[in-house]
């Protein structure tokens, strides 16, 4: 026995793994799977598509371009070179009531927040409230890291510097009665941005943290004065600032400005726009959007249509396959 073992000393192990006999499932693209699969996927997609399409249709969107390029645009006057603190009024009426919470967005187009040099131009550590980075901002912020006097800029970088600074007031005009529609600016940014990613330095008053720093060049007021009425909305955790800092993926984008919790009833409205943000130099466009949402988010008809089209294609292809299978099925004998 021992001798035999010795003789077979080099014999490989007999395991399923070494002998490549591992049990396995071997699926095949057989007609029995593919054709019913296509039909099922097709039907499911058509179902989802219909639901999406109907939902999307039910969402109301109201969109106005107020760039003021056209002569008849209400903000045409503000586009002039040296117009300061220009306010223009955009009048519109609503003939179908916006139900639920209405979201009020501003939109920019041809605006490259996703340009690489732009998008890296910020200092996350600084925005996290780390005071050491107030003194020496990250080089990625260049050229908005130091001003001409070599004072550090806080918050540094192109993103912060280019923060959107048009402001809006919405009035409901009911005959001669003008009611200010209450706009809610709380909680428009991501919870994680507001609570974790962006922090004010834990120095009170906040202003002291910004000693020996300067405000971004385009800003009219320093960060610690963004909202002097509410300390929880001031500095780096100002909601508008947070929304702006979450840069867009695409050159045409919109960002949440305010919420109108009670919806917009039928009526005439006037939007008072304080026109500050220059976009004409790069053929940009500015717009405001009112919209409500559904379970699938904002209005987007593409998704519903895409599901419908692909669902129908699946069903169609399953029929083609069935015909081909019936006609050309390869002979079983070989």
């Amino acid at each position: 026995m021992g001798k035999e073992e010795q003789e077979l000393a080099n014999r490989p192990d007999n395991t399923a793994f070494t002998q490549q006999r591992l049990p396995a499932w071997q699926p095949m693209l057989s007609a029995g799977i593919v054709i019913p699969g296509f039909v099922l996927i097709g039907l499911a997609f058509i179902g989802i598509g219909v639901a999406l399409f109907i939902t999307s249709r039910s969402i109301q969107v109201l969109e106005f371009d107020y760039t003021g390029v056209e002569q008849n645009s209400p903000c045409f006057n503000c586009t002039g070179q040296k117009v300061l603190n220009c306010v223009c009024n955009l009048d519109f009426s609503i003939d179908r009531p916006f139900t639920g919470t209405v979201f009020f967005y501003y939109g920019l187009s041809n605006y490259f927040q996703n340009f690489r040099k732009y998008s890296v131009s910020k200092d996350d550590s600084q925005l996290y409230g780390d005071i050491t980075y107030f003194k020496s901002p990250s080089v990625t912020c260049s050229p908005y890291d130091y001003d001409s006097n070599n004072q550090p800029i806080v918050p540094c970088g192109s993103i912060a510097n280019s923060m959107f600074n048009d402001t809006f007031k919405l009035n409901n005009i009911n005959g001669s009665k003008v009611d200010l529609v209450p706009l809610d600016g709380k909680g428009i940014a991501w919870w994680t941005d507001y609570n974790i990613k962006y922090r004010n330095p834990s120095i009170t008053p906040l202003k002291n943290a910004f000693n020996n720093t300067v405000k971004p060049i385009f800003w009219s007021k320093p960060a610690y004065e963004l909202d002097t009425t509410d300390p929880a909305n001031n500095g780096f955790i100002n909601q508008d600032f947070l929304v702006w800092m979450r840069r867009a993926a695409l050159p045409n984008f919109r960002k949440l400005y305010r919420r109108i919790d009670k919806g917009l009833p039928i009526g005439n409205y006037s939007l008072a726009i304080s026109y500050n943000y220059p976009v004409l130099s790069f053929n940009g466009r500015k717009k405001v959007v009112f919209s409500n949402v559904s379970w699938m988010g904002g209005k987007n008809e593409f998704l519903g249509i895409a599901y419908l089209v692909i669902g129908s294609m699946c069903v169609f292809m399953s029929i083609v396959m069935l015909i081909v299978y019936a006609k050309f099925k390869f002979p079983e004998e070989d």
């Binding site: 049990p23 693209l29 007609a31």
Partner: protein
């Protein structure tokens, strides 16, 4: 012994002479000859890191990534953080370094083993025990029996008679027979034992100088991959150029105006910006040149090589030898073999001759019949004849027919005469170490078999002197006076001895080819001739090698007179040969027929079946053998290579170039009568090398070509003629080829055919062809075979070749191709999304994905599933692979991975990447989350596209994979799970709090992946990516099913593995073909035997050292066995004139020398 693998040192200037003084170390040291330490290792602990890194960065992929790293630290260009490149690069370098380190450790180990062997060196007039590595040029060494030698030595003196030493060169060439070297007469009388002078040391030994540059074999996929990588570089440059141009126009049209929010320090130089963008995109799109590709390919090949090592069905229990993949880089090539070049002896045959049957005086012996008279199949269990009556019998000899022993015991005079002839008429040497223990050293195994047969049947050849032969006849010692040996040569095809019996009777015994003998028989034998012819045909039909035996009683007077003339003729100076020839003719006539012998050249197990399987797989088998034409042809028939049902078997044996050309042309015309005479289908490749396409012929043909004709056929002007004809035949047998010709034939096919070649052999004479072919296979099992050492794969039996090719090779090829296709697909898809995004981000080299995703995509998220696929995938299992050898054909045609397949991959990726970018784009660009907040922000978009991508490529993988083991399932699902786990971890608060700037994506996963429209988009992209593929494949299977599809369908239907194919019964043919002549030895042994030169001591068995007689004789030559087969002793090919045939090499101990 692994020092053959080393690269030889660079050639030094040729040394014309070497001065040394024996035993004078100081003097010899002044010449600075190399020391004897063998060094095949590359590194030591200190040089490892720098040298290894240096070597690794010579690889273009690694160098490229180093270059990328440099680009990445330039702030203006850097579009990705350094870690995205460093992490994979370090991983790749580490894996490779670890592999190199283990290899080198093994080399160190074998070096040490060789260097530390002990030897006795004469220093200060005393013999001292030294390590071989300390031996210096000029040292005098004392060797004892059975010592290893690791230097070139000059033999000074030996304790043996005539100053002979016997050397075994198993570690050089696998030959286990002993070779003889003789000391110079001047030094001969000096000492005892073997004393030798170290002549060349260490790397300067002949072996090290002759070992040739071990060419690094690459597979065709390797070569294709190199081309593809270059194409990819080109394509990368193309994409970057487009994007750079885009950037230029964007800067001019948009960027210059966007300066309000994004000023540039360096002003707004659009051209400069485009230049920088080009390099930035080179960094971002670098994933089209996948760094992990090479490492993954190596890992896959390694894994598949292990399967070969582990395969129990390729383990040969008798030698305790498993198969071994000695090269781990050629696996997939095993699935593409088109031509197999095989050696015969030791590969197809066992090189064991057994005395199987005989016909004595018109009665045939050797078959076993049952009581009904039915012939029984002889198996291992058939009862063997008991030879116990004969104390001198060889216990290993087997015979099954009892009637022959009965006949011997009944003292049938014809039977006795028959065996007496066998015991007397030969050139075998006997060695009797102990009383009754006989060992025969025969020049050819056939002779050994015949003498052994006689021995067992009671006619024991015991010893010989130059003029006598002693045999024991039925227990009675008799000494025959040996009067003449009429030696064998290739023309005579017979040998005779003239002996005088103790009674004083003169007799001539002759054995030879039946046709030759028949011409010389006395008329009285005509009746016996007819019967014997019938038997001979029967034997031949079974593939046995036959000899006819005849004798003649001589008249004393006549013989004396003949002897006188013989003496005169042999002293004559001119025309000696032809005169002798005439004399031989004269005396060898009117012979009386005794009978015939049939010797089986034992095939290795399963050879005919294997050959049949391989030819079904469209593999062409060429046998290149040193044997004679008849022998080779015979083996060709018995192993199914040539078949009776073949339309024709052409034999080319012309002796002039014209004849050969004519014969080749005729063969081709008869295969393809309507041929455009001038039209050769070929296409020209670069460098003027033409490729010959395969030509179709109706029917099956075989070609046999002999050595002389082959030499002409391989000449430049005729090689194409030969190649075309040969390639139209199903099988080709080349006889009497030299090792060089073997390599030439392989090279010829390699040169003109775009086909993968495999050479298989066992001996030193196969080394050249093993090295020349794309894949070399060595037959292992016995100690230290040179063929194995230079092979890429080795196993013990030829029949394992079908498993190596049809199972391992096919799977390896399939897996490798699937891997490559998928790997390119996933990386291209990954990369192209960046390209599309470029058009929406101002061509600013902004990445679409999170940098961490880019870093980990190839390493963590997609590495294991594809690795799992390429290690476990199989379309059908091994049993079915054997059942349908045709499954092998797609590999030969390169169907699974070619430029076309690659191009398809790229197109597929292009489609997928468009889906993966534009669907999320359209679905997200104008929408928001269900709570009204942003969803089209960069981070959410990045997360969405990368998740879509991962799902798409994973589903694609699932579609590719046809064999889902638990491991695969685990890898696929595990990788997806890993992706989510890692993503959520990296986007968690904790990671951000630790390193705010490294993990800016905090919260993205939580905020996006709870949105229904995100998931709906993921579903949409996944389905959209995969649907066209499924549709295409399904329709393709229905309309144009491949062999794989058909077999897989069948497997599905059968649901169970088929019963193994029934064992084929021994192929019996009723052929009229006369079998080969069972002589395969060289002329001149008769003289040797009678010269007495050899008889002063019994031959020594077992191993001894080896040494060269300085440089005067040829040392190690790769001629090996076939050199001895040279019929005339002259080189068979004009091109190898420098190889002298050392006669006396061919004494092969019958006893297995391994014991």
């Amino acid at each position: 012994m692994s020092f053959f693998g080393m690269d030889c040192l660079r050639k030094k200037e040729r040394e014309l002479e070497r001065k040394l003084r024996a035993n004078d170390r100081e003097y010899n040291l002044t010449f600075k000859y190399a020391t004897n330490a063998i060094k095949t290792s590359k590194y030591n602990p200190f040089t490892f890191l720098p040298l290894n890194l240096f070597e690794q960065f010579q690889r273009i992929a690694n160098a490229y990534f180093l270059f990328l790293l440099v680009l990445q630290v330039i702030p203006q260009i850097s579009s990705l953080s350094w870690f995205t490149t460093v992490v994979p690069l370090v991983l790749v370098l580490t894996v490779t370094a670890a592999k190199d380190a283990t290899d080198d450790i093994n080399r160190h180990r074998s070096d040490n083993q060789v260097n530390n062997r002990k030897v006795q060196v004469l220093i200060d007039r005393k013999l001292q025990s030294k390590k071989w590595m300390d031996v210096q040029v000029g040292d005098i060494i004392r060797l004892e029996n059975n010592q290893f030698v690791t230097a070139d030595l000059l033999l000074l003196s030996s304790s043996e008679p005539l100053n002979l030493v016997y050397i075994e060169t198993a570690e050089l060439d696998g030959e286990t027979n002993l070779k003889v070297r003789q000391a110079l007469t001047v030094t001969g009388d000096l000492g005892e034992d073997s004393e030798k002078l170290a002549d060349f040391n260490g790397p300067e030994t002949k072996l090290m100088q002759n070992c040739g540059k071990t060419t690094f074999k690459r597979t065709s996929i390797d070569r294709l991959m190199n081309v593809l990588v270059l194409c990819i570089f080109g394509f990368l440059a193309f994409m970057c150029t487009i994007l750079a141009i885009g950037n230029f126009f964007w800067e001019v049209n948009e960027g210059s105006q966007f300066m309000v929010f994004l000023p540039r320090q360096d002003g707004n130089n659009a051209a400069f910006s485009a230049f920088l963008t080009f390099w930035s995109y080179v960094i971002i799109l670098n994933t089209v040149v996948p760094i992990s590709l090479y490492v993954s390919v190596e890992i896959i090949r390694l894994g598949n090589s292990f399967y070969i090592d582990w395969d129990r069905k390729m383990y040969f229990a008798r030698y305790n030898t498993p198969a071994e993949a000695r090269t781990t880089t050629l696996n997939e090539e095993l699935g593409q073999i088109k031509y197999v070049f095989s050696d015969k002896t030791g590969t197809l045959t066992q090189n064991i001759m057994t005395f199987n049957k005989c016909s004595i005086n018109g009665k045939s012996y050797g078959d076993v019949y049952d009581y009904t008279g039915q012939r029984l199949e002889i198996t291992e269990h058939t009862e063997t004849v008991d030879f116990s009556f004969n104390p001198l019998a060889d216990p290993r000899f087997m015979f099954h027919d009892h009637s022959l022993v009965e006949a011997v015991k009944l003292e049938d005079p014809e039977v006795h005469n028959f065996f007496r002839l066998l015991a007397l008429c030969h050139t075998v040497m006997a060695e009797e170490k102990k009383e009754g223990e006989l060992f025969y050293q025969a020049q050819s195994p056939d002779e050994g078999a015949l003498v052994t047969a006689a021995r067992n049947f009671g006619f024991v050849f015991r010893s010989r002197t130059p003029d006598s032969v002693s045999i024991v006849e039925m227990g009675e010692q008799r000494s025959y006076e040996l009067l003449a040996i009429l030696d064998f040569n290739n023309v005579r095809k017979r040998m005779s001895v003239i002996v005088r019996s103790p009674e004083g009777k003169l007799c001539l015994y002759c054995k030879g080819a039946d046709t030759i003998i028949y011409e010389r028989l006395h008329q009285s034998c005509s009746k016996l001739m007819d019967v014997t012819t019938e038997h001979l045909n029967e034997f031949a039909g079974e593939g046995l090698r036959t000899l006819a035996l005849a004798y003649k009683n001589l008249d004393e007077e006549y013989f004396n007179q003949w002897k006188q003339r013989h003496h005169e003729a042999s002293t004559e100076l001119d025309n000696q040969e032809s005169k002798l020839e005439e004399l031989y003719e004269e005396i060898e006539k009117d012979l009386l027929l005794l009978g015939a012998t049939a010797i089986e050249d034992k095939l290795q197990d399963g050879v005919p079946q294997t050959i049949e399987q391989l030819s079904k797989a469209n593999i062409k088998i060429w046998v290149l053998t040193g044997d004679k034409q008849e022998t080779a042809e015979n083996i060709g028939y018995s192993c199914n290579l040539l078949r009776e049902e073949m339309n024709d078997v052409f034999i080319v044996s012309g002796n002039s170039p014209e004849d050969v050309r004519e014969e080749l042309r005729n063969a081709r015309t008869s295969m393809k009568p309507v041929e455009d005479s001038m039209f050769v289908p070929e296409r020209t490749l670069g460098k003027g090398v033409k490729l010959i396409a395969d030509e179709l012929v109706n029917g099956e043909y075989g070609l046999v070509i002999n050595g002389h004709s082959l030499a002409y056929a391989l000449e430049g002007s005729m090689e194409l003629e030969f190649l075309r004809t040969a390639c139209m035949c199903k099988s080709v047998i080349c006889c009497r080829v030299t090792p060089l010709q073997k390599a030439q034939v392989v090279e010829l096919v390699k040169k003109y055919k775009q086909a993968v070649t495999l050479a298989i052999g066992d001996g030193a004479n196969d080394v050249s062809m093993i090295k020349a072919a794309h894949i070399g296979v060595g037959i292992s099992g016995q100690e230290g075979m040179q063929a194995v050492l230079s092979s890429d794969y080795s196993f013990a039996q030829f029949r394992f070749l079908q498993r190596l090719l049809l199972v391992h090779g096919r799977w390896s090829y399939l897996r490798m191709c699937k891997f490559l296709r998928y790997f390119f697909y996933k990386n291209f898809t990954f990369t192209f999304v960046h390209f599309w995004y470029g058009f929406f981000c101002g061509f600013s080299a902004q990445t679409v994905y999170d940098e961490w995703f880019i870093t980990l995509y190839n390493l963590m998220y997609t590495a294991l599933p594809v690795l799992g696929m390429s290690l476990f995938d199989q379309d059908v299992n091994d049993v079915w692979s054997f059942q349908y050898p045709q499954l092998y054909i797609p590999g030969q045609l390169n169907l699974y991975f070619s430029r076309k397949a690659f191009f398809k991959c790229a197109l597929h990726s292009c489609y997928s990447s468009m889906v993966l970018f534009f669907i999320p784009y359209l679905a997200m660009h104008n929408t928001v989350r269900d709570d009204g907040k942003d969803v089209a922000d960069y981070q959410s978009f990045a997360l969405l596209t990368q998740t879509c991508l991962l799902f798409a490529v994973t589903i694609q993988l699932a579609l590719e994979m046809s064999y889902w083991t638990a491991v695969n399932t685990f890898f696929v699902l595990g990788s997806l799970a890993m992706y989510f786990a890692v993503t959520f971890t990296m986007y968690s608060n904790g990671m951000f709090l630790m390193l705010p700037s490294a993990f800016p994506f905090i919260g993205t996963a939580r905020n996006s992946l709870n949105q229904p429209n995100i998931w709906l988009t993921i579903l949409l992209t996944s389905i959209l990516c995969v649907l066209p593929v499924v549709t295409y494949r399904f329709l393709f299977i229905q309309l144009y099913p491949t062999i794989n599809d058909k077999v897989m369908f069948k497997v599905r239907q059968a649901k169970a593995t088929p019963a193994p194919p029934p064992l084929r019964t021994r192929i019996r043919r009723t052929s009229s073909r006369r079998s080969g002549y069972a002589f395969s030895h060289a002329q001149g042994y008769g003289n040797l035997v009678t010269s007495g030169r050899f008889l002063r001591r019994p031959a020594l068995s077992g191993s001894s050292g080896f040494g060269n007689i300085g440089r005067t004789t040829t040392g190690f030559s790769p001629m090996g066995r076939s050199a001895g087969y040279s019929p005339t002793g002259r080189p068979q090919n004009a091109k190898v004139q420098d190889v002298e045939v050392t006669s006396l090499q061919m004494y092969r101990t019958i006893k297995d020398p391994a014991f």
